[in-house]
């Protein structure tokens, strides 16, 4: 067998095997983007763009796609250079344990991957310049961002490889490193510091990363650094066996507790972190106009802020959708773990715990969101320096708005809850092929519906719309009967549970139908269509399928 000479080559080979496809992707971007831009320009008549786009639109689109792909590749490459496959929230070093036992010095173990990672990061930065800037500007670009990218990678590696006795310390250290590395160049440039001085400064930052990384690696290799100075039982509460007598009321309560441990903090935290940060920053921006334009029209800061507040929990519910079926969010396994599968509990109770948990998490998230929204609405904003959104609403208040507001206040959590649970049956089935194809199928269906909406002969179809709605409702009912029969055959759902589920579903449908009926103008949507839309909106079959899917996953 051919051997590799020296640690530098061995580490290079190992990193090459880990990153070769990502690096190939970067090369592909460097080759394809200029060609694609030229081709687009050529096809559009050498810069003769459609009149509705005031700036060259298509080359920008290519450029944005390339930047997005490069950023994604950079993040993936960074994780590969940091060996981030281990639990990054843990206290131990993320550096592979088997490599720590190699007979080489810590400085080599840290230095070589740091050198390779930094070099690749600088090259990615160069690639971004190449894609982003016109040719003449490319030759005049400052050099410090290249070294800033290298320093960023080096410090991310250092932070990943140092053992921390407090698990949050790694996150805090990463945020501080990111701020310092990026802030150093930005602030220095603002104060007119010469490029060469900045370059020297960044070389110092890189050297510091190497020193800190080496010291951290030495501690990790001898097993130090993961015990807090106060871990000798002074702070940690010692449990007494007598406390074991306190148990959960039921298996459902125990499962709900597990689910809540996972989502009750995660969902509000993820949903609100972004809005709170932006809200905090915008609080100092009152009276300034927005810099966001869409098709030549300014989008007000208030509108953007409201969208962020509402959009953030929606995005979070999509994340919950992808992880809810798993017993442990961070594990890649999609099968039911033995730990849960061997417990004497029905599949429907496991599903019910998940659904209840999402409902509670969404209620908490939206309650906090509404409180923040109220606070934001009461503060002065960018409409007018001395006026708040609340004042504007009060000045234009109509009774009908109150009803719409209440409907939205109930509807938004309901939409998030629906988004979070609607794919439960796909994930609980535990087959990778279904999970992978479900996303593509959903996108294809939406594209198909979009095409139908655009090109269907609506004038001819319109008179038959109530009949189509009726056919749709009937199809949903027939499908529900088939699923219920399968559930009963497999003894997955008892008749009592089935009755309970049906009552809850009917109550939600009736309540929603009544609320929308009151809120809508009577001529806007016919009764039939409204009823069909509400029945379509409230999930039934997908929820019924969830315990059946879990049954197939648990008893393969």
């Amino acid at each position: 067998m051919k051997t590799i000479d020296g640690p530098a080559m061995a580490i290079a080979r190992y990193l090459w095997l880990r990153t070769r496809w990502m690096l190939a992707g970067l090369v592909a971007i460097a080759v394809i983007v200029p060609l694609a831009q030229r081709m687009v320009v050529h096809l559009n008549g050498n810069g003769d763009y459609p009149a509705e786009f005031p700036t060259p639109y298509y080359p920008q689109l290519v450029m944005f796609a390339a930047i997005a792909a490069t950023v994604i590749l950079f993040v993936v490459l960074l994780s590969q250079f940091c060996y981030a496959e281990k639990d990054m929230s843990g206290r131990e070093s993320a550096f592979p344990r088997w490599m720590m036992t190699l007979p080489i010095r810590s400085v080599s173990l840290v230095g070589w991957p740091m050198l390779y990672g930094s070099a690749v990061s600088a090259l990615i930065c160069l690639l971004m310049y190449y894609v982003l800037l016109p040719r003449e500007a490319f030759s005049r670009m400052p050099y410090w961002p290249l070294l800033a990218a290298a320093a960023f990678c080096a410090w991310m590696q250092t932070v990943s490889w140092i053992p921390f006795w407090w698990r949050l310390a790694r996150v805090i250290a990463a945020v501080i490193c990111l701020t310092v590395v990026i802030g150093l160049g930005t602030v220095a440039q603002a104060f007119g510091v010469h490029d060469w001085l900045l370059l020297i400064g960044y070389i110092g930052v890189l050297a510091l990363a190497l020193v800190a990384g080496t010291a951290g690696m030495a501690r990790a290799r001898r097993g130090d650094g993961v015990q807090s100075p106060w871990s000798n039982g002074v702070i940690r509460k010692r449990m007494r066996p007598a406390e074991l007598r306190v148990t959960f009321r039921s298996a459902s309560a125990a499962m709900l507790w597990v689910e809540m441990r996972r989502n009750l903090i995660f969902t509000p935290f993820i949903s609100l972190t972004g809005p709170v940060l932006i809200f905090g920053l915008c609080a100092f921006n009152a009276g300034h106009p927005s810099t966001f334009y869409l098709y030549g029209k300014m989008i007000s800061s208030a509108m953007i802020m409201a969208s962020i507040f509402i959009g953030s929990p929606l995005c979070c519910s999509l994340t919950v959708n992808g992880t809810l079926a798993k017993f442990d969010t961070w594990l890649p396994e999609i099968t039911v773990p033995n730990f849960l599968a061997v417990r004497p509990v029905t599949d429907s109770k496991i599903v019910a715990a998940k659904i209840k948990n999402v409902a509670i998490a969404m209620a908490v998230t939206w309650l906090a969101t509404y409180l923040l929204l109220i606070l934001w609405a009461l503060l002065p904003n960018s409409y007018e320096r001395h006026h708040s959104v609340a004042a504007l609403v009060a000045a234009n208040f109509k009774m009908r708005y109150l009803w719409w507001g209440a409907l939205a206040a109930i509807g938004l959590p309901l939409i998030c809850w629906k988004v979070a649970i609607q794919s439960l049956c796909v994930y609980l089935y535990g087959r990778r092929w279904l999970i992978n194809s479900a996303g593509f199928t959903t996108v294809a269906i939406w594209i198909g519906l979009g095409a139908l909406a655009k090109w269907a002969p609506w004038r001819e179809i319109w008179p038959f719309l109530p009949w189509l709605a009726l056919a749709f409702v009937l199809a949903k009912v027939v499908l529900a009967v088939v699923i219920i029969r399968a559930l009963v055959d497999r003894r997955v759902l008892s008749s009592n549970s089935l009755f309970g589920w049906s009552v809850v579903w009917l109550l939600i449908v009736s309540g929603l139908w009544l609320s929308v009926k009151v809120a809508l103008h009577p001529h806007l949507l016919g009764q039939w269509l409204l009823a069909a839309a509400v029945i379509w909106f409230v999930p039934a079959n997908r929820l019924l399928l969830a315990p059946l899917a879990l049954h197939a996953n648990r008893h393969r």
Binding site: M239, R240, L244, R249, A251, V342, R554, R556
Partner: protein
């Protein structure tokens, strides 16, 4: 070990531990395929109440697949599985509430603390004995406030064992429970599980590579090879049914003789040693029929029988 024995007291009103015929597990002609691989091939086994059945076989022989069928984690493609007279797939709650399960890698959630794990598991079992759980926790020296992921492998096994025992299950199913564990944890597992449970008249089904342990505690032994049950009998009957015999011929031979029941042959020239799946008397008769002289004959332990059955002795296979 003695402390463990003394702390276990029989329940006041034990639930019925088998069906009317005294059978706890009944597997009939179960066949299972994983793509092209036949994992179980027409397997039939019966486990009666109060017995300890040791399941032995090579890696990939089908032991875990069989156990997963008993737990209802796999559905029989062909044949049927009945545990306490019920189908574990159709009646998971009734069946699983009476089974204690421990596998080689108890996939306990790492983020839970030990006391949280115990509280969580207790919620599923109406028969959970909190006093017994507390005793086991003290005997195993489990730190209640420690997170599962910070426990050693041995401590994790003990935590899994506590969770499998504290509700006093009627059937204990153990899938390679002591693999990779130190002798002290193995002793804990063996003493706490096998003897105490058997003393209470409960039933145990366990698979293990440590054949000396299987031999020590099992009433019956079943060997699985390539998805088929090679034998299933009492430990003594299995040992009686196998023998090692060394014979000497008058003339040297290139190849070992062909004899019914010979599992492996070793030797060269005039002297050959065979491991045979026949009784000692039958082996002597077979030797004299060949015109050979018996030089030595000895009983086999389970390890030797297992190796011979697995054809891994390095000698000539019959």
């Amino acid at each position: 070990m003695s402390a463990l024995h003394t702390m276990i007291e029989p329940q006041a009103s034990p639930p019925p531990r088998a069906d009317s015929a005294g059978t706890v597990v009944e597997i009939r002609s179960v066949t299972r395929r994983y793509a092209q691989k036949l994992a179980l091939d027409d397997v039939s086994l019966t486990l009666r109440a109060g017995t300890v059945l040791g399941l032995v076989g090579e890696n990939g022989a089908g032991k875990t697949t069989l156990i997963r069928h008993v737990m209802g984690l796999l559905k029989a493609e062909q044949g049927s599985v009945r545990v306490f007279g019920m189908d574990p797939v159709l009646e998971p709650v009734k069946v699983l509430s009476r089974i204690g399960y421990l596998s080689e890698e108890p996939d306990l959630p790492g983020w839970m603390r030990v006391h949280e794990l115990i509280r969580y598991i207790a919620a599923f079992y109406p028969t959970w004995d909190a006093q017994y759980a507390a005793q086991l926790q003290q005997d195993f020296a489990l730190d209640l406030s420690a997170r599962i992921k910070h426990l050693s492998k041995g401590q994790r096994a003990r935590a899994g064992l506590l969770c499998a025992l504290a509700y006093r299950p009627d059937l204990l199913v153990l899938d390679e429970p002591s693999s990779g564990l130190d002798p002290i944890v193995r002793r804990d597992i063996l003493s706490a599980i096998i003897r105490t449970i058997a003393d209470e008249g409960r039933t145990v089904l366990f698979s293990s590579h440590l054949l000396s342990e299987v031999e020590r505690v099992s009433d019956r032994i079943a060997m699985i090879k390539n998805g088929r049950v090679v034998f299933c009998d009492t430990t003594q009957s299995v040992r009686d049914a196998h023998t090692r015999i060394t014979i000497r011929f008058d003339e040297p031979r290139e190849q070992p003789p062909v004899v019914d029941g010979a599992l492996t042959w070793e030797g060269r020239g005039r002297e050959w040693t065979a491991v045979m799946s026949v009784s000692a008397d039958q082996a002597r008769l077979a030797a004299s029929a060949l015109g050979a002289q018996v030089v030595e004959q000895s009983p086999l332990n389970l390890d030797e029988i297992f190796l011979a059955r697995a054809n891994r002795t390095g000698g000539h296979a019959s």
